[in-house]
Subunit: 236 residues, 2 copies
DNA sequence: ACCTGAACACCGTTCAAGT
DNA sequence: ACCTGAACACCGTTCAAGT
């Protein structure tokens, strides 16, 4: 047996995760996977939190960002969808997101990319910052809710059988989502969010958080842009 | 000591949760709080999952829905903000959302309310269903990301100190969020989502998921409505 | 009917001791 | 240097036995 290294620990962790799920990954099983005593792992990784953080980094490194030369809206959609694809593949990630800011360099990269695209599209810094949070929140929530099986309760097929007797609208509307894949549901919400954001460009509201606000580059000729950007189709 | 009942168990669970957090709540401590042996609890609650589900129900019962006679957009914002306020008070709820569909009657009530308001505002059933999921995902994600401390990474003040050297836009834009409360951040994203949704009413896209689609009641005279609804301020 | 004691099969983490 | 054995302080859950 080779000596323990962080890369070997991370690889083994992902193997256990794939095989047994989050609840199946313990420091003891991880050590077993590597043929060592539990205590041996602690010489390379300070605790389980750090382990999970390393695993998160390893996975999120696989998020691919498109060419930023694309139309900003397309670029954002593609980046977000890439993040969604990579992260939803690993169900345990939703669980780990709760355990504090284990969002490392990779998610920085994603943030920088999305912020730049939003600003290029004509949003002010403050608008871009706000929307960026909204996109991130939506992405995280989608992963968590999809994982949980019932999100708003109605939309995942499983939830439709429950006690919907007193909720006629829920009952009527629930089957409408059954035909959509999770990717499509994600794209649909993202599209609405971007529609709302780009509407702000053409019809700016009163300056809130005016401190540090920059002139929106496309602000002047953006009037009328909303229709174009707003109804553009989400690729994929 | 009185005999064990489900209400007494739920009350004790909330007490322990408040005092020691999610990680501090165990079946053993819960039993201790009630002056009983751990095994006694299992006569009233089948396992820990059911316990958490009961606790979730107890809290989510406190979500207040406004008068549905209000303007639909205002009604949705108020309902979502009420849900946000109630749920964010209990940090452990984000953790529990991952553990499967423990969304009971109360969240049904919320879903029914939001769906009805969206349809009253002129969305088709399919549009309302999609948007309802998006709102729910956003709410869940906001709770989870706010809990985690760093959401898109930049926006919570704590995250701004990190390694932002190679990310100039993140660095420049991060301080802009520092002045906003979590409630304001939540409202900002929700507003964008609703802007996008109501833009759909005035400029409907090609009918997707045409099965079961109803005529949008406000569809005809809604042209021009978007400006009105879209720039309306979020109350609170 | 309601509860307890004791056990089973686990955890994360530490630390003196071994090679 | 690198690892192990053994322990500490916990878990959720079960079940025969007690009152």
């Amino acid at each position: 047996m080779q000596p323990l290294t962080r890369p070997r620990i991370v690889a083994a962790g992902l193997r256990v995760l794939e095989r047994e799920g989050v609840t199946g990954l313990s420091m003891r099983k991880l050590a077993g996977e590597l043929g060592k005593a539990p205590a041996a792992v602690y010489k390379h990784v300070s605790d389980k939190r750090e382990l999970m953080s390393l695993l998160f980094d390893e996975v999120s490194r696989r998020i691919e960002l498109p060419d930023p030369g694309d139309d900003p809206r397309t670029a954002i959609v593609e980046a977000a969808q890439s993040a969604h694809r990579v992260l939803e593949e690993h169900g345990w990630i939703a669980t780990e997101m709760l355990d504090g800011p284990l969002l490392g360099a990779t998610s920085m990269r994603l943030s920088e990319f999305i912020l730049d695209a939003l600003i290029r599209a004509g949003l002010t810094d403050a608008q871009a910052a706000r929307l960026h949070i909204a996109i991130w929140d939506y992405l995280v929530g989608h992963l968590v809710a999809a994982r949980a099986g019932a999100p708003g309760l109605l939309p995942r097929p499983t939830a439709s059988a429950d006690g919907t007797e007193d909720y006629p609208t829920v009952r009527r509307v629930a089957p409408l989502m059954a035909g959509m894949t999770d990717q499509e549901r994600f794209a649909a919400g993202l599209r609405v969010l971007l529609d709302g954001a780009f509407a702000e460009v053409s019809a700016p509201r009163e300056a809130e958080a005016a401190v540090g606000e920059r002139e929106a580059p496309g602000g002047r000729e953006a009037r009328g842009t909303q229709g174009e950007l707003g109804t553009q189709d989400v690729p994929g």
